[in-house]
């Protein structure tokens, strides 16, 4: 009853990925527009976040409702380390944020992986909301609903004054570099022995125990890995956006990676990446022109779940597979 899975052998090898990264790299020189650089940067950050989320959802079959908690942990770690410990170097802050986000994911994950299906989702939701309540309540540390302002960190020791320049050039390429590394690392993980076991867990988690693999421990490893990617996304997002607040921990924000994964195609490696770009661009121009953006977005979600359940990339892969007949293909 479910669509054909996708043999991981990409159609044209690594070509589409290289073209994509190069194209993104050309945006600042060609357009020079701070605004577009900011938008693409945001899309990349959300792509990393969605890739981390999809490692659990699309590849291990675990639907988490509280993933904003780990993204938010990354953001707040970055902001608070900068504010209270006066660390300026991005690299140090980045490391600290990723570690703290991963620890949060590890602790919450350890408890949540004991449960299956809807219990797992609701437990992650509950933990996410407790973190949200903490962030709002400890308002003399976290600034509560006013949030915390994030200054410009130093990149590789260089300090910058003009935020416009910072976003368009140095930090843009920094994000692009980290994004490329994340894509490569995730691609290797998903095609590794561990990745194959995760996909087995997705299809039939109980039977995996009878292969000699502890289903619970491997789900936990997947949860921690997902936390790493969320931490990376959170750490990149804080300086890019310049300000973080409790809405980045609220469960409403946890729906974003689910949107992105399902629009892009959660059973395809490229799905969350393409989905994120579509999401950011569509969302952005819709909110600019109408106050009824929720109606527009609700309609898109209903359309995709009914007509394109495999998402954009899933649909394209299926179409290509049918036309190529022989090899099972995938983007």
């Amino acid at each position: 009853m479910f669509p054909k899975s996708f043999h991981i052998k990409p159609i044209l090898g690594l070509l589409p990925y290289i073209i994509g990264i190069v194209a993104l790299g050309l945006i600042p020189p060609l357009t020079g527009s701070t605004y577009l650089a900011y938008l693409v940067g945001l899309a990349i950050v959300l792509a990393i976040f969605a890739m981390g989320f999809n490692l659990l959802f699309g590849y291990t079959g675990l639907l988490s409702f509280g993933h904003a908690a780990y993204f938010g942990a990354g953001c707040y770690a970055f902001a608070m380390l900068m504010k209270y410990y006066h660390i300026q170097s991005f690299e140090l802050l980045f490391l600290g944020s990723v570690i703290i986000a991963t620890l949060t994911a590890a602790v919450i994950g350890y408890v949540c992986v004991r449960y299956i299906k809807i219990y797992f989702s609701l437990l992650t939701l509950a933990f996410g909301q407790v973190e949200y309540a903490l962030v709002v309540k400890l308002y003399n540390i976290t600034g509560g609903t006013d949030g915390i302002r994030v200054m410009m960190p130093t990149l590789l020791g260089f300090t910058f004054k003009d935020k416009g320049f910072f976003v368009t050039w140095p930090f843009y390429y920094y994000i692009l570099a980290i994004f490329t590394i994340c894509v490569i690392v995730l691609w290797i993980i998903l095609n590794s022995h561990f990745g194959k076991i995760l996909q087995a867990i997705r299809d039939n988690d109980v039977r995996v125990n009878f292969l000699g693999v502890s289903e619970r421990r491997y789900k936990w490893y997947a949860f921690i890995l997902s936390g790493v990617f969320c931490g990376v996304a959170g750490a990149l997002f804080a300086p890019l956006n310049g300000h973080i607040g409790p809405e980045h921990v609220y469960w409403g924000f946890s729906a974003t990676p689910l949107f992105i994964a399902l629009i892009g195609g959660h059973r395809v490696f490229l799905g969350p990446i393409i989905g994120s770009f579509i999401y950011v661009l569509v969302r952005h121009y819709v909110t600019a022109f109408t106050i009824y953006w929720e109606l527009f977005f609700g309609a898109i979600v209903i359309l995709f779940t009914l007509l394109f359940p495999y998402g954009v990339c899933g649909g394209i892969s299926l179409w290509l597979a049918r036309r190529m007949k022989s090899a099972k293909t995938s983007l």
């Binding site: 609903t145 006013d146 302002r149 935020k163 300000h243 607040g245 809405e247 409403g252 909110t287 953006w293």
Partner: protein
């Protein structure tokens, strides 16, 4: 209409900062003659907008004969004004009102030739989207749509996020509503706030309570459990305790934003038998709190002290209990006894168009709108050519201007408008079939605004 007491000392608009002792203010009943000065000065200075302004400005102010520079032509294309507010979600309650106010202001001003003959094109943008979308949209307005001025923002979190971006995109950003004192704790070249903040209005409220009920002892409070509610309460109780150390806090309730069931909160507060109950709720949450409190006969047992009381007037209508203390946060549409042209003009037009008097979010919009309009006109006078964004920003810093809600002086250091808060007591007005504030007082800005960049609680300690 209630009696209106004259204030004895003219405090306002004197440039040098004379240290005013609060004790003297309380001992000699009502302090500064603010509204009177405002009315007198404003009346002469700027009546209806547009045509009258030119006449007044030409009259040379100083003794030295001042010959204005030759006027270069004003650019033709319209001034792009972007207004941003919560037009969806829980805060949309105000969106509806502020949208009306802005449409009216722009429409009327355009009828009279806009600003210096340039027509204003107004666009609306929703801020009830995740903050990073808000910030991205804010950038788009500045960089891509190249708007002249952005007025708006209700939530302090969003204002704090967008303030640094305004300097980045070099676009004037006037904040009419977001009221956290933190918004102006850091200097921003292009950011201005034209209404009172959480460090000032609760002090005014406390001073008014001390004056109205000198023997208050038992105090309770119900507040929203986020920065807004916390700041309001902490500043209010600190001021109260400064003057009456024996004041006792008998019951505390922190409600989550969006809470709809207040029955337990009301019961807890009533059980503690307080003299007054402080509250800083607003929007739908205030409406449901007052609605439930009425049925719990809350107002027969204690008195309500609410910093944003006017928000509930239209929805509750004639049921609103009389004799409750409150503030419309900073500006009120009706100054009994003293009405000046701008106030009369705006209220008349508003009632003509919508059949309802403008509530405080509308007055806050008007305060922001006239700040920009006056700054542009003044800069044009001085420069003789249409001012650039940077020049308008410099004019705005330190600008003293009149607007339908009163008189504002934007402080040069932190661009915070020293808008004197108004406080009063509720009374049902048969004309509007809803509650209004009467027995009115305007509390001088020097008494309530902390000096630039200082925490209000620290400032209160220094009294």
């Amino acid at each position: 209409m209630g009696t209106y007491k004259h204030w004895r000392e003219v405090k306002f608009l004197s440039e040098e900062k004379k240290e005013v002792s609060r004790r003297k203010f309380l001992a000699t009943s009502i302090g500064t003659l603010v509204v009177g000065a405002v009315a007198g000065y404003a009346g002469g200075y700027a009546t209806a907008p547009g045509k009258v302004v030119e006449k007044v400005v030409e009259k040379p102010v100083e003794k030295v004969v001042y010959k204005p520079p030759p006027k270069r032509p004003v650019p033709k294309e319209p001034i792009k004004l972007a207004y941003r507010d919560h037009l969806s979600g829980a805060l949309a309650v105000r969106g509806e009102w502020t949208k009306r106010a802005m449409e009216l202001l722009v429409e009327e001003t355009n009828k009279e030739g806009g600003i210096l003959g340039r027509e204003i094109s107004l666009t609306f943008h929703d801020e009830a989207i995740p903050v990073e979308e808000c910030v991205a949209d804010f950038r788009r307005l500045g960089l891509e749509a190249k708007v002249d001025v952005i007025i708006g923002t209700t939530s302090s979190g969003v204002a704090l996020a967008q303030a640094p971006v305004a300097d980045e995109i070099k676009t004037i950003y006037i904040i009419p509503h977001a009221a956290s004192y933190k918004v102006v704790m850091e200097p921003h070249k292009y950011v201005f706030r034209t209404n009172g903040h959480t460090g000032a209005v609760p002090i005014a409220m406390a001073l008014y309570v001390l004056k109205k009920m000198p023997d208050v002892k038992r105090v309770a409070h119900i507040d929203m459990d986020y920065a807004w509610g916390r700041d309001n309460w902490n500043v209010f109780i600190a001021t109260l305790k400064k003057y009456k150390p024996d004041v006792e806090v008998v019951a505390e309730v922190w409600e989550k934003v969006g809470e709809v069931d207040h029955s337990t909160a009301i019961t807890k507060v009533l059980a503690a038998k307080p003299d007054i109950v402080f509250n800083s709720h607003w929007g739908g949450q205030l409406v449901s709190l007052v609605r439930q409190a009425i049925e719990y006969k809350f107002f027969e047992y204690t008195t309500f002290v609410c910093t944003v009381i006017e928000e509930a007037f239209p929805e509750i209508g004639p049921d609103f209990p009389e004799g409750q203390l409150g503030a419309p946060w900073t500006f009120y549409w009706e100054y009994p006894g003293y009405r000046w042209n701008l106030n009369r003009w705006f209220v008349k037009k508003f009632i003509e168009k919508y059949g309802v008097p403008p509530n405080y979010p509308c007055m806050q919009c008007a305060a922001a709108f006239f700040a920009y309009k006056t700054a542009v006109e003044k800069a044009y006078e001085v420069l003789g050519e249409y001012p650039t964004k940077e020049q308008i920003a410099e004019t705005l810093a330190g600008l003293a201007y009149a607007h339908p809600g009163g008189m504002n002086r934007i402080r040069r250091e932190d661009h915070q408008a020293l808008a004197p808060p108004t406080v009063g007591v509720t009374k049902i007005d048969p004309k509007w079939n809803m509650a209004v504030l009467h027995d009115f007082e305007v509390i001088s800005a020097e008494l309530v605004y902390p000096p630039p960049f200082t925490e209000p609680l620290e400032w209160i300690k220094t009294w």
